[in-house]
Amino acid sequence: MRRLLNISALVLIYFIFTAKSCDGDDQFRAAEEQAGVNSAKDSIAAVFTSDTLSNQALRAFEATARLKMFDFRDYLNLLSDTATSDVFHAKVAGMTGELFISREVRLDLTCSGAANGNDNLNKTLKKSGFKHIIISPGVVFDSVTVNSPLQKVSDSLYSGTLKFRLQCEDLNRRTGKLTPDVFRVIDIFVAKRENIFGTKSIKVWTILLGDVH
């Protein structure tokens, strides 16, 4: 019996000393994970902080500018909705500001003088810092295309324009119909903007909207 116990103890000791360490595996996995994250972040940063932008990158930024125009349209719809909370409105107004190169931009989105700028939408945007803004109620825009492709202006700036179709709800007729369409042009820019990732701040190429003509 005693011999059997000794053998059992020896077998147990053998298993304890030869068992694979879970801690070691976890540490290896964590180190591997961290190395993968660092390497991916470095290559992303390299793309968005490069000195110059390739033609392919500029075309991608033009596509992004078109999407930003649709975001702008959606944000205006959200800001026109009086049923949502003030906190939500403030967040959307702030995000609208982030779409533009500055809040000094001139945004005239009116259809045949249909706006007086005193409605909630215009007031909310002015409150968030936009100075030169006048938007007709029920404005819609679509058919956004590249009017002039992005071109280098300086080492830190590229510019171009988009063309879009603008219409407003015909308030005089109150039938839900839209006013006759007009085409407008909006400036677009790619500039390096400070962006914060945790505790690290880096300047990355960002597409931004500008004045409406």
Binding site: A40, I44, A57, R59, A60, A63, F70, D71, R73, K200
Partner: protein, 175 residues
């Protein structure tokens, strides 16, 4: 020797119609990369008795698989862990927002503070379109707008169980 490695998730359903990349790690050589077929199977011809494979696919956690090959067992099933966060982000991008504060809180817990999240354009040679930090991405994902609908997660990396790097594109055809 031939071996099949069908990608299988924990619910035992094969991963189909999704790109599954398999990297065969070889001692003293560069890795060899291949793709699974539409049924999620990968056929490997080798004279080695032990193979190491790195399997990666969207919506599942990448994993390194080590297998001792047996002549009698020519087929093996590999289980991958679902990337719940990536699935959740895809889900968020397709749903209507009712409780945006709750969604913001959930995303805040899922994403690392120093995360880099970037949108790409194109399928064959994707180009970077926009780089978001954590807050910008949460803002975009919780405010209903057209540009971030129907996100397709292409790649994700984790740090301390939180999303640290995320690469995605928007499925234009579904918008």
């Amino acid at each position: 020797m031939q071996k099949s490695y069908p990608g299988i998730n924990p619910s035992k359903e094969p991963i189909t119609n999704n790109t599954i990349e398999v990297r065969l790690l070889l001692d003293g050589e560069s890795p060899v990369t291949g793709l699974c077929d539409a049924k999620g199977s990968f056929r490997l011809k080798t004279d080695k008795s032990l193979v190491r494979l790195v399997i990666s696919t969207p919506y599942y956690r990448s994993d390194t698989i080590v297998r001792i090959l047996k002549k009698l067992n020519q087929e093996e099933i590999v289980s991958l862990h679902a990337n719940d966060y990536a699935l959740m982000i895809h889900y968020f991008s397709t749903m209507k927002v009712d409780d945006w504060v709750e969604r913001r809180n959930r995303l805040d817990k899922m994403i690392d503070d120093a995360a880099m999240i970037y949108q790409v354009l194109g399928e064959k040679n994707p180009v970077g379109m926009e780089l978001f930090n954590k807050q910008q991405f949460i803002d975009k994902l919780t405010v209903p707008s057209g540009s971030l609908r129907n996100i397709e997660i292409l790649d994700s990396k984790f740090r301390d169980e939180k999303i640290s790097v995320l690469r995605f594109r928007v499925n234009e055809k579904d918008k």
